[in-house]
Amino acid sequence: MSEGRPILPHQAAEFYTWLWWSSERNEGVFDLGDPLGRVDVWVDERLAFRTPGDSKVTAVLTGDNPSATLEARAALAGGKVLEELRLGIRRDDREYAITLKGAPMHFTRLKLPQVLLEGEDSVIYDRMHLYEEVESVIGALFRQFAGVRSEGDWESTTLQHIRKWILAAEDE
């Protein structure tokens, strides 16, 4: 454990695309099993793309619901890969917004539900509890992706569905 596990750029890009595709296919509903249960996850107001093999962002789509625009999937169809993905997450009555960034999947601009300010102890415990809930959700989503990605039929089944979904944007 002295050096930790590797951080692979293509895996983050593939996870972001799978998550976007899955959220559209599932209408944003994910069953993440115990203890998380049902969680709503949707692509929110920002998508950033890069060229494979490069880490520099070359195209950014922002505004209301950019994932529904033709440009978004056209960027994938044109060979770009996702570098940043802004998500909305809802579990029970708690709603979060987070941008996952780059290969390490940094948590950026993470908006937590408002916590009541009743002394510092309470603030740190509440905020860390909420942070850990978000990390549990993202971790569980990544585990689902990893399960599908490591199956033998990733290329012949899931990737084909994703490919069709991407290319369908060109026909719309």
């Binding site: 951080i7 692979l8 895996q11 890969v81 940094h106 601009r109 510092e120 942070y131 990893a146």
Partner: protein
């Protein structure tokens, strides 16, 4: 105190190493030992850094546990002070002083050694009356959970933070990988897999 309010932008680390018995007192002493110390006013351009409380960058004492340790979370901040001089103004002033030196002596060129001496003297004078740029970077360390959140994505800040953290606690900070969320067997399979998404464009 970014970590206590507003949106979070964090870099995740795993904390590797053994937390000693009675770590509360040990870590309090270590934080005090490596806390930020106000440098003398004439201090040069080298940065000065050390730990401070997340609530107040002038508060550099960790004797009161209630201010930084809320088990299992420890919160503190790395304060870095750095002085910088206005480069263009410095260059122009050095040139002017060199011209004056030449005029006084009735010569055309100012030797490099004199120019360097003039520049050094000016830098010393100006640094003594310049306030530093002050930056703080908050962290939250889950001591039981073995992870740390650093409220910055800057590589440079992360490197300096990791160095100071190791000096202080003798523990290594390893960048967290998404593969940490999955079982070792599946992680190994993913590591061995080639990228598949660029094929989409074919």
């Amino acid at each position: 105190m970014a970590i206590l309010s507003g949106a979070l932008t964090v870099r995740r680390f795993l904390v590797v190493g053994d937390v000693p018995e009675g770590f509360r007192d040990t870590y309090r002493d270590r934080l005090n030992e490596y806390a930020f110390v106000e440098p003398p006013i004439e201090k040069g351009k080298e940065p000065t850094e050390g730990w401070c409380q997340v609530h107040n960058l002038l508060d550099t004492e960790f004797d009161d546990f209630d201010r930084w340790l809320h088990m299992p979370y420890a919160m503190f901040s790395l304060r870095t002070d750095k002085k910088a001089l206005p480069a263009k103004l410095l260059t122009a002033t050095v040139r002017k002083k060199c011209d004056e030196w030449c005029q006084e002596r009735g010569v055309e060129r100012c030797p490099a050694s004199v120019k360097s001496e003039i520049k050094e003297q000016l830098e010393t004078e100006w640094l003594a009356r310049t306030l530093p740029r002050v930056a703080t970077t908050d962290c939250v360390w889950n001591i039981d959970g073995g992870y740390l959140l650093l409220h910055s994505l800057s590589e440079g800040v992360a490197d300096r933070f990791r160095k100071r953290f190791f000096q202080t606690f003798g523990l290594k900070l390893i960048p967290a990988s998404p593969l940490d969320w999955i079982e070792a067997e599946v992680a190994d399979e993913l590591v061995g897999s080639a990228p598949s998404m660029p094929e989409v464009s074919e």
